[in-house]
């Protein structure tokens, strides 16, 4: 029986640094940046796991390893079930297409089938509150409208594993509340959730475990409060 939903084993990943011709000729040794350094993690089915850490510590990269966007240099990442990464809402949106066409495009990028998208369209229109604007070109939309459409399409997903990368808080205050509620609903419905966020209050309330990452390594895994304490402790040491 596999109780585990995600297993990440000894994963290391380094990103190459862009070099100019001169630097290539000089052959300086420091040519790559180690984003993940021997990271291991297993997440049980039904678990909600949070990841915290300062910018550039490898949080988003770890999510992208789990989602299969990056392949690890060493180690392996395996998972059970359909995975969706919620990040950069509205990626692939194009100004000259209408809201509806963009919803189809974005939905198909996220892996929806055509029949599913047709069924979801009503829900997407009502959630995004776009009404007649849905058939106008996207370039006529305000930033908030684009964000609403993006979230409406993305949140219509029903994955077994949901990965969330800093998407809380888009649009005006009213919609912000609505979107937060929607994402919490998705978290409740999804089998397994891994969430990257800077809002520690939310993390303590929804996460079963929280990971504190620093410089591509996992510093701490465990109780949310202890993980946050570990984060603040390492921040103080840095200062």
């Amino acid at each position: 029986m596999s109780e585990q939903s995600i297993i990440v084993e000894d994963v290391s990943l380094s990103f190459p640094k862009k070099k100019t011709v001169l630097q290539i000729l000089k052959r300086n040794s420091n040519s790559s940046f180690l984003a993940l350094d021997n990271v291991s993690l297993s997440v049980k089915r039904g678990e909600v796991v949070g990841i915290i850490g300062r910018n550039g510590c490898g949080k988003s990269t770890l999510l992208r390893i789990i989602a299969g966007i990056f392949s690890p240099d060493q180690g392996s990442s395996r998972s059970a079930g359909k995975i969706s990464l919620l990040a950069g809402l509205g990626t692939g949106f194009t100004g000259h297409l209408t809201g509806r066409e963009n919803a189809f495009l974005y939905g198909s990028i996220l892996g929806h089938e055509q029949t599913v998208m047709k069924e979801l369209m009503e829900e997407i229109i009502s959630f995004s509150e776009l009404e007649t604007f849905i058939d106008e070109p996207l370039r006529t939309y305000s930033a908030g409208m684009k964000a609403r459409l993006g979230l409406a399409v993305a949140s219509a997903l029903n994955p077994e594993i949901l990965l969330i990368d800093e998407v809380l808080g888009v649009g005006d205050p009213v919609f912000k509340e609505k979107s937060k509620k929607k994402i919490l609903d998705m978290v409740a419905e999804a089998g397994t959730v891994v969430i990257v966020s800077h809002s520690f209050g939310l993390m303590t309330s929804i996460c079963d475990r929280v990971i504190h990452m620093s410089n591509g390594k996992i510093k701490f895994i465990g109780e949310p409060k202890e993980a946050i304490a570990s984060y603040y402790a390492s921040e103080e040491r840095r200062n």
Binding site: A67, G68, S71, A80, G92, T94, E101, S108
Partner: protein, 282 residues
């Protein structure tokens, strides 16, 4: 109690074996057809966005270009073949299809960096959908030939179908090289600048402003240019327009089709091998 279904743990991400890459790319295209349809819509609708003439540009562009070359040719040589503008139009259409397909495939990963960072699906889809939209606009451009049939009083025959076939062959000849270079372009954008130069230079090396028959008249020249895989598609389209199947030498046909097939196999295999390391550079 929630029902627990036992799902095996699997690795997500690229995992095509080297030899089966060309074939598995075809099944990928089929299983992601809804996505491809939407990507095609984005590219074709965007191309002539905010322009009054819109799609007529696909026809106007080769027509105007040919007019310019025609006057240039009259000035350089005294007594031009009356079909010469047609040869140039067909040459421009078929060559541009090859050039644009090549450039679109080479840049297919770099242009879609933000989508690649958002979700995993086989990235070869980006390459094929940009080929698809280029072929579509080229087919539109080739409609310019229909009124010219009347102007030149040419009988409509089934051989006209050789024109779209030649366009497809031109696109196919671009796929392999494009797939081969797309991951390299992620690492170093010099690749795309080099390709732009090659497409411009190839315009003169290929029979756009000259014809296969002109090369044959010079004897030795035919033996050299037959090695250019784009000579056959362009000649095929020209002869098809006149209503006859080409008399192009068989080994030349083999060179053209063989290049396309070989490069497609190599390109697909290398693309699937290097795509996952290349996207780290995006």
């Amino acid at each position: 109690m929630e029902e627990q279904v036992d799902v095996p743990l699997t690795e997500v991400g690229p995992k095509t074996s080297f030899l089966s890459a060309p074939i598995s790319s075809l099944s990928i295209l089929f299983s992601h057809r809804f996505l491809i349809q939407n990507l095609l819509k984005r590219e074709t609708k965007g191309r002539y966005n905010n322009s009054f003439l819109g799609y007529s540009w696909t026809v106007l562009e080769p027509a105007l270009l040919s007019a310019v070359y025609y006057f240039l040719f009259i000035m350089l040589a005294d007594n031009p073949d009356r079909f010469y503008p047609i040869w140039v139009i067909i040459g421009v259409i078929v060559w541009t299809c090859f050039g644009k397909c090549l450039q679109a495939t080479v840049t297919s990963l770099t242009r879609n960096a933000s989508t690649i960072h958002l979700v995993y699906f086989p990235r070869i889809i980006f390459s094929y959908s940009s080929i698809g939209s280029t072929v579509w606009t080229t087919m539109m451009s080739s409609l310019v030939l229909i009124p010219l049939l009347l102007v030149y009083d040419i009988q409509i025959s089934w051989q006209l179908l050789l024109v779209p076939l030649a366009i497809l062959l031109a696109a196919f000849n671009a796929i392999g090289l494009g797939l081969l270079l797309a991951p390299a372009n992620c690492i170093n954008r010099d690749v795309e600048h080099l390709i732009r130069f090659i497409v411009r230079a190839g315009f003169f090396v290929s029979p756009v402003m000259w014809t296969w028959e002109m090369a044959v008249e010079r004897g030795w020249a035919a033996d050299v240019v037959v090695w250019n895989p784009m000579v056959f598609p362009i000649t095929l389209a020209r002869d098809g327009f006149l209503g006859h199947v080409t008399e192009f030498p068989f080994h030349g046909v083999m060179i053209s089709v063989g290049w396309g097939l070989l490069m497609w196999m190599i390109g697909s295999a290398l693309f699937s091998k290097y795509e996952h390391s290349a996207v780290k550079y995006l």
